[in-house]
């Protein structure tokens, strides 16, 4: 990869990050309502992606146990407690495997 291609990729990446943040007018009405509903599904989707490997199979057992631990703690709506639940799940998964 040449430095020029690297610069092009960096430019594309920054432009994609800045495009909406800089040039989009502050949304209102239905568009704002739709955007407001998106964070939870996006996070849930990112969590799912991290549990499915690139070849379409499920992640290893301890990682699934970690996800279960985090899910069990999610009713607390506390990020630190979800982390603790996830790590406890991972430890349990390691012990069981």
């Amino acid at each position: 990869m040449s430095p020029v291609v690297l610069a092009g990729i960096a430019l594309i990446t920054y432009a994609s990050r800045a495009a909406a943040l800089v040039f989009l007018r502050k949304p209102g009405g239905r568009f704002a309502a739709i955007l407001g509903r998106m964070p939870a599904p996006i996070f849930a989707s990112l969590a799912t992606l991290s549990l499915v490997t690139a070849d379409g199979s499920l992640a290893r057992g301890p990682i699934l146990w970690a996800a279960l631990g985090a899910l069990a703690a999610s009713s607390t709506r506390s990020l630190p407690l979800c982390l603790v639940g996830g790590l406890a799940g991972y430890a349990l998964g390691q012990a069981l495997s």
Partner: protein
């Protein structure tokens, strides 16, 4: 202490740092894996430059995979454009909650990655629930967590380039991301319909990742948009 000065206290920054640290530690580990994998393909200067300028783990690992398969410049650029599409949606979601000047938002945009987006949205929601400005909290969180994740990615890249290994923590670091995003999803669910949308996104993402693995990077955007569309205007 006034509400304004309390809002500016170092305690707020410390809280953001504490929240971000587990993700930053995982990013450091993945940065070291990237540095080690990229060195033979890119050399030291370009590996460092790639992390400094791109700052995107998913994209940089994809580029390494393509370079290993002797892909050309057009494939690299096309992959970058495709994988970065989701930033448009993440940026639009943040834009709806941010004011400030375009220059300010443009500077913050450099730190927009999945993790910092999550921390910023969660911090904005928490501030609004506490009767404070969500916009200020989102800005501050994006800046502080973004800087921390950026430094972690650079340090990790350097560690990998130096040939040092962080043994046996690769999988443990990988645990952080699902746990983090499950926690962020829980925080973002404010009503039962949010839970239903999140579950819908899980099903759509799983289906997309299994049936069209090449497009898995787009799943969060596709699923997020599709499940957010139904509903009333406000």
């Amino acid at each position: 202490m006034s509400r304004r000065s309390a809002h500016r206290s170092p305690g707020v920054v410390r809280s953001i740092v504490a929240t971000t640290l587990p993700a930053a530690a995982a990013i450091l580990v993945f940065g070291s894996l990237y540095g080690a994998a990229a060195r033979p393909l890119l050399g030291v200067p370009l590996t460092i430059a790639s992390s400094l300028l791109i700052f995107s783990g998913a994209l940089q690992f994809a580029l390494i995979g393509l370079l290993g398969a002797a892909a050309g410049a057009s494939a690299l650029l096309l992959t970058a454009a495709t994988l970065n599409l989701r930033h448009l949606v993440l940026g639009a979601v943040l834009r709806s909650r941010l004011a400030g000047s375009g220059r300010r938002r443009g500077a913050l945009a450099f730190f927009l990655v999945d993790e910092t987006f999550g921390f910023a949205i969660a911090a904005g929601d928490a501030a609004e629930r506490a009767g404070r400005s969500g916009e200020r909290e989102i800005e501050r969180t994006l800046l502080v967590s973004g800087a921390l994740c950026y430094v972690a990615w650079q340090l990790g890249t350097l560690i990998g380039l130096l040939g040092a290994e962080i043994p046996a923590v690769g999988e443990a670091a990988g645990v952080i991301f699902p746990v983090l995003f499950i926690g962020l999803a829980a925080l973002a669910c404010r009503m039962p319909s949010d839970v239903a949308r999140a579950l819908g996104a899980v099903a759509l993402t799983a289906a997309l990742a299994v049936t069209l693995p090449d497009l898995r990077a787009l799943a969060p955007v596709v699923a997020g948009v599709l499940v957010a569309l139904p509903g009333r205007a406000a």
